[in-house]
Point group: C2
Chain length 417, copies 2
């Protein structure tokens, strides 16, 4: 089977000058990779006719699928449409269906259709119009022998919807693509190199049609297994078999197999078990609560937080005993235990968690360097603590300490009745 | 003066497959743009010799300055070095100075130098070695007539340090570049299109050697004035003159002229005025406190937060009157006023601020749609409230409401004694 090759072409001065970051091409890469299409090049050029023409011709030499974003706005510096018409040797003409769609788009928002907006319905006659359900610039699909050019708006949510609903299905129809099956294994609480060491033998023994990728981010590592073949049920069986033999090696670190990040996984468990959570966070300064409340519906299980940033607030508002603070300091096991227990009792929740540490750059002492963090979990049965030694970087410490608490909740939850 | 053109070349399969986002090229674009060098293309290719060779040759056709990142690791899939040696028709040889540096790098970290690490000091003989003070892969500078090729590691902080300390100064020396002066004007609390309307006349009257760019982000808009000329003092005078005539048009929205974001500006003001802050945040769920505490040293003025996410916590822990909540609801002016006043009193701070709203997607009522948010500011002299009608998107609402509170603090602070 011939491997289908793709090139991603981004058009716009604002990307060349660094005014915006191109996040579109990463998303597109991932989607194409999942389908078994190989991205061989990404190119960004400015709003200059000759540059765009050259980029089209070069891409056509190299790739089968050329996906273009940007340069479709209604103003005169947006050149993608006239250049496409030129490249495909045809004219720009009002597409009646596109005109009806853009008219409806403005009408439904109670806005007038200006002549500038009307021109958004002018398309190269050689293209197949692709509907843009969430914006005013239609997409344009061009067949050229075995190759295709597809032009889309640069606005991320418009591009994504167009890709998902129209472009990817069309590409699947046009080309004979390999059957591919992906399976994600989400791990937390173990660094990439330690993980790699634990699974080295298993990785070496993977059959040749199953590939492994490490996808690390701050505080977690995702493993992605990809099976290539001709039968989806066989691939599902094969990857599942591999996962079954992987599990015993790293089971304590696996927290999921899907798209849900740790804060969503924990939210689902809390909801299922009908448990409630409260937080006393000091060094994480609100970020832990932000992770928890970034999940829609979190008000079902998350009741509230106290951030006792100052010493007096730890005593007077939260209620940590002055003796404890004086004897052991704010960054200590006795203090963190009190913090988690008190917030749980005060807020009348099933679970209370707490953080206290030196996020940095200031605040270090000889025995408590920057990056020293205590975290605790408390429920009616037990209180669990962990001491973390993190980095020198404030933002990294805030993120890692928060993720460590989420992991501590995950580890401790199964025991709560 | 001839315009100097640059091309940015990123090498690595992990970017083509979407496993990581390339943030390097945006940073480099901004730095080059500031110097008056025009980036005309960005290209990403995979770890394939022929692809890299072609990309080198194409870039040399188009640009004067070719900046290459990635592909410098010690493993066999990293090809940039051998391909550079091939392209410049020379051999790879251990560079004694580079070897000394990489040996020292490992020694200072108490680690053994393996043969693989030793090979990081092997460089194409045609290059000038550029020191990497924070990593093991040296940079390589190649002069080719009027053009230069510069190869750097893909690790962002290594690339940035190498660029700032060595590459940009060298480029400045090699080429005759225009004298450029940038000035940033940071605004908050006004949308891009309203801002554009207010300053349309002023913008039209800008002299031709001063350009204006809009740099919008969620909750604020930065304006960047760039002056091009031959004398820096003249450009400084010219841009300052323009800013003086801009000020009366949008003064209430300007919060700064430098690199400090709003949370840093507010932190500085609070510190200077020796004022303390506490927060009662509901719908923003910790994000407002996170913004405040992301600033190093914020413990000097920020004492703590209560996040009364649940109705009962608003009453029992924070102390909002049950009558107020019952009569007006949690998302109301009377409630937000109590929240700000109570947290200020409880935490004994000079200033108290509060948020309460419907972040979405759930929780809306007919008269309080998703995106309805009340915010309040309280000090000993007065309490100020604002009602916001934000978006349908939970994360956008959390961000915009938090930024609106920061702006409310900024607007209210001058009156506190």
């Amino acid at each position: 089977m011939k491997k289908i090759l793709a090139e991603l072409l981004t058009i716009g001065d604002e990307i060349l000058y660094g005014q915006i970051v191109d996040t579109n091409s990463q998303w597109m890469s991932v989607e194409l990779d999942k389908m078994g299409i190989k991205v061989i090049r990404k190119t960004t050029v400015g709003d200059v006719e000759s540059e765009i023409m050259t980029a089209f011709a070069e891409a056509e030499q190299r790739a089968d699928v050329i996906l273009i974003t940007g340069g479709l706005g209604p103003t005169s510096d947006d050149l993608t449409k006239p250049v496409l018409a030129n490249y495909f040797n045809c004219e720009l003409k009002i597409n009646e269906e596109a005109l009806a769609e853009v008219t409806e788009f403005f009408k439904s928002r109670g806005r007038e259709l200006t002549e500038l907006n009307r021109q958004q319905a002018a398309l190269p006659t050689a293209c197949i119009k692709i509907t843009n359900p969430v914006g005013t610039a239609p997409g344009m699909w061009f067949d050229k022998g075995d190759k295709i050019f597809m032009s889309m708006p640069g606005v991320p949510h418009e591009m994504k919807m167009m890709m998902t609903e129209h472009v990817l299905p069309r590409i699947r129809k046009k080309y004979q693509l390999p059957v591919i099956h992906h399976k994600l294994i989400r791990t937390i609480g173990i660094g990439e190199s330690f993980l790699a060491e634990k699974i080295a033998e298993w990785e070496k023994a993977l059959p040749s049609h199953i590939k492994l990728a490490y996808l690390p981010s701050l505080g977690e590592v995702k493993l992605r297994l990809t099976g290539f073949g001709t039968s989806l049920p066989e691939l599902e069986r094969d990857t599942n078999e591999q996962i079954e033999s992987l599990k015993p090696l790293i089971n304590p670190f696996i927290y999921g197999y899907g798209e849900d990040p740790i804060e969503v996984v924990i939210g689902k468990t809390l909801r299922e078990k009908k448990l409630t959570l409260s937080i006393a966070e000091s060094c994480t300064g609100g970020y832990l609560s932000h992770l928890i409340t970034s999940v829609p519906g979190s008000s079902e299980y998350f009741l509230g937080t106290m951030i006792p940033y100052a010493y007096e607030i730890k005593m007077r508002q939260l209620g940590v005993k002055p003796e404890t603070l004086e004897k052991y300091g704010a960054v200590s096991e006795p203090t963190i235990i009190e913090m988690a227990n008190i917030v749980r009792a005060k807020f009348s929740t099933d679970i209370g968690v707490a953080t206290s540490g030196i996020a940095g750059p200031g605040g270090a002492t000889p025995d408590k360097p920057v990056g020293t963090v205590w975290i605790a979990y408390s429920d009616k049965h037990h209180t669990v603590t962990r001491k973390l030694q993190l980095s020198k970087d404030r933002m990294i410490n805030i993120r890692l300490a928060s993720v460590a608490v989420l992991n501590l909740i995950r580890q401790s939850l199964p025991e709560v009745k």
